[in-house]
């Protein structure tokens, strides 16, 4: 169910970090380690998600958004609240 | 525009260098011309018995008599036009107008007749007339005796407009002007009359086709003429203390302009500051700026700066008059801006 969402998130990630290879991304691995993202990339990614899905991502939640799947779940969860 | 260049007969006398005022240099030039050519005569308001508003012609009446040092009634249009007519008929009149402000009463004659005559007659008639007039501010003469309107005449094809800024030019330009077959307007800045300087020898013919580089420099070109030249040179001294070397160009001829000298200098310095006592709007400074943009655009490393008179009729009160006129400090600032710092 989260598959299309994961793909969409991946596409957004590629937009922010065009030098990653989406073909090798494992949605269950922590993005920072796997994709060599730095804090700025990551913030930009989460900001894009916040903007696109109209959800607030409090500072305190950031630490638990490590994998694409976690992010997808988070998005699904918070969208459902609206 | 076809620039006219005339072979000038140099009337040079071997005299030793002496100190002389701008006014005296002018008078010497007049005396020399009157002596050399019987067709030369001087005409204007109070040039004879009074000795000239600015005392340039003092003493000439005694030597040359009232026919050749001819006091004219207060009728600028008539006596300037009479100068045109006399020139048409083969004389070499030198007409003096008290100030450029008064010349407006004769502007019809200067612009519609003198300047146009050669062309509208298909080259049959030319007007070898010299008109001298005082210009400029600085003597608290207020709004009808202080303006710098030479640019109005420099606008007009058919006229040659010159502005001697140095003692040597005051001494030498008249002969060149008299040798010119077309009307020449000589603008003498009132602030210059009392300036004094060394003059070597007698008359040295001035090449009116060439601007003079009064000071060489590499950092910026200051283009000026007439009464603003001393200010530009003073600014150059001040800037030199700060390590900024400016080139100061004295245009000498306002029409035609020696574009080549201006362009060559700006090609070296890449920065131009124009100092012109005229009002900035529609000024000669604007014309020069336009020439630089048209012909030296790719050489410019900074916006062209203009230092001109404030857009106000010249006021009487000393401090207001000073405030209205281009100042040395403004030239310095303009050069500094042009040099980016």
């Amino acid at each position: 169910m989260t598959e299309p969402l994961v793909a969409e998130l991946l596409s957004m990630l590629c937009h922010i970090a065009p030098d990653i290879d989406p073909g090798v991304v494992d949605p269950r691995r922590a993005m920072v380690d796997q994709l060599d993202l730095d804090s700025m990339d990551y913030q930009s990614f989460l900001a894009a998600i916040s903007s696109r899905y109209h959800i607030e991502i409090p500072e305190t939640d950031v630490a638990r958004l490590r994998t694409l799947e976690e992010v997808a779940s988070y998005v699904t969860e918070h969208q459902a609240q609206h | 525009m076809t620039a006219v260049s005339v072979d000038v007969t140099t009337i040079s006398r071997a005299t030793t260098a002496r100190s002389i005022t701008y006014r005296e240099a002018m008078r010497e030039a007049l005396r020399e011309a009157l002596r050399a050519d019987p067709t030369v005569f001087v005409m204007g308001e109070d040039v004879g018995a009074y000795g000239g508003t600015y005392a340039v012609t003092r003493g000439l009446l005694a030597e040359f008599g009232p026919d050749r040092i001819r006091d004219a009634p207060l009728s600028e249009s008539a006596f300037v036009g009479a100068g045109i007519g006399a020139a048409l008929a083969g004389m070499r009149p030198i007409v003096e107008i008290m100030t450029v402000n008064f010349s407006l009463l004769a502007m019809d004659q200067i612009v519609n007749a003198a300047a146009a005559m050669r062309h509208m007659s298909g080259g049959q008639f030319h007007v070898p007339l010299v008109i001298r007039m005082a210009t400029g501010a600085g003597r608290q003469l207020a709004a009808q005796h202080s303006h710098s309107l030479e640019n109005w005449y420099a606008h007009v094809p058919g006229l040659r407009v010159v502005a001697p800024a140095t003692i040597a030019d005051a001494r030498g330009m008249l002969a060149t002007a008299l040798a010119d077959p077309d009307p020449v307007l000589i603008f003498e800045h009132v602030q210059l009359y009392a300036t004094e300087g060394e003059l070597a020898g007698g008359s040295v013919a001035v090449d009116l086709d060439r601007a003079a580089i009064r000071r060489s420099g590499t950092d910026a070109t200051v283009i000026t003429y007439g009464g603003s030249l001393p200010r530009a040179l003073a600014a150059a001294d001040e800037l030199a203390k700060a390590g900024i070397q400016i080139e100061v160009i004295d245009l000498r001829s306002l029409r035609p302009l020696d574009t080549a000298t201006i362009l060559a200098s700006v090609q070296r310095t890449h920065r131009a500051v124009i100092v012109d006592e005229g009002w900035k709007t529609g000024s000669l400074a604007g014309e020069i700026a336009a020439i630089l943009v048209e012909q030296a655009f790719w050489e410019l490393d900074a916006p062209i700066e203009r230092v001109c008179t404030a857009e106000v009729p010249i006021p009487y009160a000393r401090h207001l008059e000073i405030a209205a006129l281009p100042k040395i400090s403004e030239i310095v600032s303009a050069v500094r801006r042009a040099c980016h710092g």
Binding site: - | A3, P73, S75, G83, D108, A113, H119, D180
Partner: protein, 324 residues
């Protein structure tokens, strides 16, 4: 004055030449061969012809923008005048001047000037040169009564009188400054009195009578040469045509024009000469035919004259090096 047959033929021939020339000029204007302003002199021929008959080739002449008549009477070749109006290279001002600015150095004709009264200071200066030179040359200046309202007019009357300059001021009083009637522009409508105020000897003459004009002009010129002082001649005249080709003539009555036309200087002169037995009807017809032939030749000359090359546009703004 009782002219000889030759004198009569000369005066008639010149007046007819001006008349026929201008009639054709008006035609050519309508056909767009002549453009700009065209100010016709028709009706006033006796003034130019009469005054210029009184001076010699060494004398100087200067006139207003309504100067075809003066240029023709001064002897400038009609072809060159017409070519000038056509804007051609063969024009007397090489196409630079047009109708209003006819010049000829050879004829000491110092132009056609478009600024009303602007020619007066120049005339004064031409005379000043002769005064300084001590020559007996006279300068003749033609201007309209409209010029007498200008400050320059008074400056020049004063200057010429003050300096005793050999100049003949000829006021062609045709009663209208463009469309403004004399009475509406002059507090003192007797223009010669303004000259008198400057102590210039003045005379009023019927400008429709060429012989009267000749006589008055001769008197004035003789006096100038003898006394070395200016003279003023007010010639009462009338232009039969509008001010210029653009003028609808709203300011004057047709009847007034018709009344003046009854006094046509050419008809008046021919009638008088026939009456006096100086000229025959054949003489007059022949003179007219000659004038028409001259005008036709002038038009042919103008037509055949090349236009100035545009490369010469900037010529004669300044004197080239080595000239003059």
């Amino acid at each position: 004055m009782n002219p000889t047959r030759d004198e009569a033929l000369r005066l008639l021939g010149q007046m007819l030449l001006i008349r026929r020339f201008e009639e054709r000029a008006a035609e050519d204007y309508a056909a767009e061969k002549i453009r700009g302003f065209l100010h016709l002199y028709i009706g006033e021929e006796a003034v130019a012809v009469g005054v210029l008959d009184a001076i010699g080739p060494e004398d100087a002449v200067i006139a207003t923008y309504r100067e075809h008549g003066h240029a023709l009477a001064r002897g400038i070749p009609p072809g060159e005048i017409m070519a000038e109006m056509y804007g051609r290279s063969g024009g007397c001002s090489r196409g630079r001047g047009g109708s209003m600015h006819l010049f000829s150095r050879a004829h000491r004709f110092y132009g056609g000037h478009g600024i009303v009264s602007g020619l007066l200071p120049i005339a004064t200066g031409l005379a000043l040169a002769e005064r300084l030179r001590g020559s007996s040359v006279v300068t003749v200046a033609f201007f309209g009564e409209g010029a007498a309202a200008e400050g320059e007019f008074h400056e020049c009357m004063n200057l010429a009188s003050l300096w005793r300059l050999p100049v003949l001021f000829v006021c062609e009083n045709n009663l209208y400054a463009m469309g403004t009637a004399l009475s509406r522009s002059h507090a003192e409508p007797e223009i010669h009195k303004k000259a008198v105020a400057h102590r210039i000897e003045s005379e009023v003459v019927d400008g429709m009578d060429v012989l009267a004009v000749v006589e008055a002009a001769r008197r004035a010129v003789t006096a100038i040469r003898a006394q070395g002082a200016p003279r003023f001649l007010e010639c009462m005249t009338y232009r039969f045509r509008p001010h210029s080709m653009f003028d609808p003539e709203l300011y004057r009555e047709r009847t007034e024009v018709e009344r003046w036309k009854q006094r046509c200087p050419i008809e008046a002169f021919t009638a008088r000469m026939r009456e006096a037995g100086v000229l025959s009807a054949e003489d007059i017809a022949a003179a007219d035919a000659e004038a028409i032939a001259t005008v036709n030749a002038a038009r042919s000359f103008a037509e055949a004259s090349p236009i100035e090359p545009v490369e010469h546009l900037l010529d004669d703004v300044y004197t080239p090096r080595g000239v003059a």
